[in-house]
Amino acid sequence: MKIAVCIKAVPETDTRIRIAADGRSIDRTDVKFIISPYDEFALEEAVRLKEAKGGQVVAVSLGGDEVPNLLREALARGADEALHISGDGVAVDDPLCVGKTLAAALKTLTPDIVFFGKHGVGGDNQQVHAIVAEKLGWPQVTVVTKLEIGDGRLRAEREIEGGIEVVETPLPAVIGAQKGLNEPRYPKLQSIMQAKKKPLVIKTFADFGLTAAEVGPEAAGLMITALRLPPPRQAGRKITGDPAQQVGELMAALQNEVKVI
């Protein structure tokens, strides 16, 4: 089987984010990037599928110089080859442009199945895998918690409100991995050391026959105009005194400050 998995570099989840001077992006000094946590489930599932059915896993990522490091990690975790699509000239903040670029790249890879995380932590757009499926004309299954691959078909369980939905689609298809799909393993030292011998190629959007008019800034339907941090949480306050005083103070606070009563 030919298996593709798309991973996104996101700031480490406990990084203290600062807004850059332009007010529209994050300040990248001191920021460490990791594979988006849901993409780890996707990668693990791709590798397990290969282990069970044989085949090749190619890891794909679109972005800047934070990407190669994470693709090496994907290789260490069991991918066989890696494709870095340079973010230069691509409107990487616009899910549509990203989806178009990835779809064009995937078309050349001709996989039987493509894995994504259900969403990229940080941006939280939850759009890219759906756009890719649409552009490729393939079925997609999102928030997948269980997956079985049969002959040319897949059967997946999806987490829905209050229950589980079981669906079937033909292959090729696009999968959005949800937590619970598997328990990612950490890579062995042996595979970490083998990773540097595996191929990691870098390409640009033009290599897939795309133009700036299709995926560049001018094509972006969406543009981030401002980025703000949430207001700092206010310190809690302890209400003291005898029960009657406490009730009085609490009522006053709920009515006048929080204005819920």
Partner: protein, 606 residues
């Protein structure tokens, strides 16, 4: 080392071991944690994941094993570690190993050491248990044992100490005599404090052939006459097995001799040296983990309606922890870089050159061992203090850390023995003409005669710290010169003097390693917060180290000199310890705040 290239003809390109006392190097020439490559980082992450997911959840059970003597949990975890490659880092690829470079090995021991006593089991096996075969085994022995040791099929222990000989390891009484048939050596004796003895399949046993010639043998647990004592009732590292190894008329095939008869000391000392190297990484990991617990606790625990972390008394402790961890981390990885470079072209199976390369930096390894174990002791002690009464309870993690830390000052050569080794090795190198120590001492004396120079300190970052380091080296040399002058060959009997010198030399190495790393960051990554942290830690460390060095020098000089000579030397110490003191209260507060912010060690993370 993965792709061995032809060996360079000379090692002149590498700084000589111990040369840090005589000259300055450029920051770009030292290795620092910021230089880890992606592969090294990933290996560290895997090690951390293994410890967090497999070992720590089992800690309580691991710590109880010694009560029943059943160490099957440790054995299972060691086999799991083997599966992901953690037991075969030092083993040549030819024998199924990974041939990790020496920097990577230090990183692995840094992250493994977060598993408390389990790391002693793992290190006892991969280190002192396996190295004797890797570096002194015949090709047949290596081919037979190393694949099994790397895969965890067999586990190893190292049996050097005896009830009557610890520091004086060569005083061992265990005896080996060749049988009449000439096929087996018959071993008799008792070994003491043998880590992993509860479950090891093979023991590297040191003994004297015919009661005279110090030698080492590979002894299998299932040979007739091999038994172990009961588990020792230890203060800490409860999750590691420690027992006597009892040998009663044990027939050991003569093919099991390691190295040559009468050359066992080479095996023993080289392995201890490597052990000190690994310990340098281990203490850094242990200390960072304690700091994480302490920073979190100090933020959460409230007294007087405030988190105790908001009090200066606690900030002082945390800030000092950060500064000391930073200094140790800087010198450990600096040494790792030195050893990595000297071995870069050496085949992983070329034992002789590997040992020679590591031996070159034996002084630095001893410093890392002593300094690192005492840094860990400080951090563990102040962690307990920060936890107050809860620190004294086994319900909280720092009590165990405090008990576990203590062994590091005792094994791998006690800190006294290592402190004595440092000047011993330096002077020996001086005598052999390998290090121009006496010339350097003479230069200091000439400078004194010439009177003070009033060079303006340049207005560049850390220029004042640089001058302090240059000057403190002069103090060390001054003491060395005065000591040799007074005692000559008999200096080895003057342990108080040797230890005072060692204390100064260690501080110099730590100061300089801190400084070089901060400067390198300043030159390359000016705007990053790491750089600010490193500068603050360096200043705190150097500010206090200069004071310590001055005090030690003033304390020991009256033993070495008298009259005018003494007066001149004391004046020189005063001149060389002149340093514009900095506001360390603010700097420590800053470091503590940073530790609270990241809930642990702020300067570096993988």
């Amino acid at each position: 080392m993965s792709a061995p290239r032809p060996a360079p003809k000379t090692t002149a390109a590498y700084p000589k071991g111990g040369s840090f006392l005589l000259e300055m190097v450029s920051p770009q020439d030292v290795f620092t944690p910021e230089d880890f490559n992606d592969e090294q980082r990933l290996i560290a992450k895997t090690t951390a994941d293994f410890v967090n997911q497999e070992v720590l959840p089992n800690m309580e059970k691991l710590e109880e094993q010694y009560k029943t003597g059943d160490f099957s949990l440790t054995v299972n975890l060691l086999r799991k570690a083997a599966d992901i490659g953690l037991l075969s880092g030092d083993i040549p690829a030819k024998y199924g190993g990974l041939e990790l470079d020496k920097v990577c090995q230090m990183l692995v021991s840094e992250f493994i050491s977060r598993s408390g006593g389990f790391s002693v089991s793992l290190g006892g096996h991969t280190g002192i248990g396996t190295w004797p075969i890797t570096y002194f085994g015949t090709p047949e022995q290596k081919a037979y044992y190393l694949p099994k040791l790397g895969s965890g099929e067999w586990l190893a222990a190292y049996a050097l100490s005896e009830p009557g000989s610890g520091s004086d390891a060569l005083g061992a009484r265990t005896k080996a005599v060749l049988n009449e048939e000439g096929t087996h050596y018959i071993l008799n004796g008792t070994k003491m404090w043998i880590s992993n003895a509860g479950f090891a399949d093979i023991f590297i046993v040191f003994c004297k052939v015919d009661g005279e010639k110090f030698s080492a043998f590979i002894v299998h647990r299932d040979y007739p006459g091999v038994s172990t004592g009961k588990e020792e009732n230890k203060m800490g590292i409860h999750s590691s097995s420690t027992r006597q190894l009892i040998l009663e008329n044990v027939p050991v095939p003569k093919e099991n001799l390691l190295g040559e008869i009468g050359k066992g000391h080479l095996i023993a000392f080289n392995c201890l040296n490597l052990g000190r190297y690994k310990l340098g990484g281990g203490v850094v990991g242990g200390a960072k983990s304690i700091l994480e617990h302490t920073a979190k606790y100090a933020m959460e625990r409230k007294q007087f309606d405030r988190p105790i972390g908001s009090f200066g008394a606690i900030k002082y402790k945390i800030g000092e922890m950060v500064a000391r961890i930073y200094a140790t981390e800087s010198m450990s990885y600096r040494t790792a870089g030195l050893i990595h470079n000297i071995l870069a072209d050496v085949d992983a199976d070329d034992a002789e050159r590997i040992l020679k390369g590591i031996e070159e930096y034996a002084i630095e390894c001893s410093i890392m061992k002593v300094y690192g174990s005492e840094m860990l002791g400080y951090v563990a002690d102040e962690a307990v203090q920060t936890f107050g009464g809860y620190g004294y309870s086994e319900e909280y993690p720092v009590a165990r850390a405090y008990r576990d830390a203590r062994i590091n000052r005792i094994f791998e050569g006690t800190n006294e023995i290592n402190r004595l080794l440092i000047p011993g090795m330096l002077l020996k190198r001086g005598m052999r003409g390998e290090l121009p120590i006496m010339q350097a001492v003479q230069n200091v004396l000439d400078e004194l005669l010439a009177g003070p120079s009033f060079d303006e300190v340049e207005d560049t970052p850390l220029a004042k710290e640089r001058k302090a380091i240059v000057d403190c080296k002069k103090i060390a040399l001054l003491i060395a010169g005065a000591a040799v002058q007074k005692y000559g060959q008999k200096l080895s009997e003057e342990q108080e003097v040797l230890i005072a010198f060692s204390d100064i030399a260690m501080d110099v190495f730590a100061m300089e390693s801190s400084y070089l790393r901060a400067l390198k960051l300043h030159q390359g990554r000016l705007h990053e917060i790491t750089t600010r942290d490193a500068l603050a830690a360096t200043q705190v460390f150097i500010n206090d180290a200069v004071g310590r060095i001055e005090l030690t020098a003033r304390r020991i000089l009256p033993t070495l000199s008298e009259g005018d000579n003494l007066r001149i030397q004391l004046a020189a110490v005063k001149r060389f310890s002149k340093y514009d003191l900095v506001d360390t209260v603010q700097l420590r507060r800053y470091l503590a705040e940073r530790a609270f912010e990241v809930r642990g060690y702020p300067v570096f993370s993988i």
